[in-house]
Symmetry: C2
Subunit: 220 residues, 2 copies
């Protein structure tokens, strides 16, 4: 009886603890989402913790309880943005069968992501290499590693096409870097001077270029 | 006689003034070269004016007489790096006749530039979009404008190929963004994890990719 009471009490406590964990996690996600908008609008230097707390509708003290400071929050934003883009692209790729269509879906889905969430584009356009130097030393390492893994994942999609007889003689890593570089640069140019097209409309000309690389055999 | 004396005195003064201008210009170039190394090694935040002055072998006071501060010096370094890369590429392109070879020379010469001067790669890899936010507002504008003009110049080389019957149906600006993005991304990956090849050896696989885009006709 005593034991059961203890157990009930324990389970009530753990339910409360679990609820508290969930609340903390939600608050954390709100803070990251708010920080993402503020960093996208003002950059790392211009963003202020108080403004992020206000946007997340939490107190400044709560924000500092969740993150040691702006550096840690920025890291979380960059990592979350990268993870979110990769997840969306991987889902789009998984929905297709043909290896060539799977590779081209990388291009379309990247532009769709950027169109759906403007913050992702800003954060992506700055990229891991553009992290403020002093924070790059420690926190940049993770996002550089993520990016390398990401490039490797795209390169594997190139190899799928090669196993199917396409793009013989090309280096998969270089094709992947070219696809990601073409998307970043095209989207980055669009940020600086939007040309009247929507971001997802920019996918077509980039796709057309790589479709040509994919469809044709080596001629020299 | 009096007049002639005056003239001689004036011309001696102007020679001295001209000499002083030349000296100032040389000092300015030394400072930019020194700053380029320090920024490449330590980034914007980590670089210190005193260290740059020491590397340029001028006094800190002289450095501040030439540049209002680190922001202005950084801008000069970014602009000089961009100008130096563009000049080298344009010379390499001018040395060729065939429009396809001229376009492919953009790729080779970019990698050669980076190999010849490692600072250029670091500064290029960070690019205009990665300028610290608060300085980007004012000084970033020029380097963004330079980059757009640069992309437009490469797009004109694509149009030369199109006038010659190649790459029909592709958007010249997108092909240019893809070429520059592919080079940046490949070189950027190499900075993070050099794979044993030299930078100029990386030109071949990037060139192979775009040679395929150039040589083939649309298939769909």
């Amino acid at each position: 009886m005593e034991v059961q009471k203890e157990t009930e009490k324990g389970s009530a406590l753990s339910r409360r603890a679990a609820r508290r964990d969930r609340e903390l996690e939600l608050r954390r996600l709100d803070a990251i989402a708010a920080a993402s908008s503020v960093f996208a609008a003002k950059g790392f230097d211009g963003a202020q913790m108080a403004e992020i707390a206000a946007a997340a509708e939490i107190s400044l003290a709560s924000l500092y309880a969740l993150f040691s400071g702006k550096e840690e929050l920025y890291q979380e934003v960059v990592l979350a943005a990268g993870a979110s883009v990769r997840r969306a692209v991987q889902e789009a790729v998984a929905a297709r069968e043909d290896p060539r269509e799977r590779l081209l879906a990388v291009i379309d889905s990247l532009f769709s992501c950027f169109e759906d969430d403007g913050n992702l584009l800003w954060i992506h356009a700055r990229g891991p290499r553009s992290l403020p130097w002093k924070i790059r030393q420690s926190i940049g390492a993770q996002s550089v590693a993520d990016f390398q893994q990401w490039n490797a994942w795209v390169a594997d999609r190139v190899r799928d096409v090669q196993r199917d007889g396409g793009m013989a003689g090309l280096e998969a890593d270089v094709v992947a870097a070219a696809i990601l570089g073409a998307v970043s640069n095209t989207a980055g140019q669009w940020i600086e001077s939007p040309d009247g097209r929507s971001l997802s409309e920019l996918a077509a000309p980039v796709r057309a270029l790589f479709r040509r690389v994919i469809s044709n055999e080596e001629t020299q």
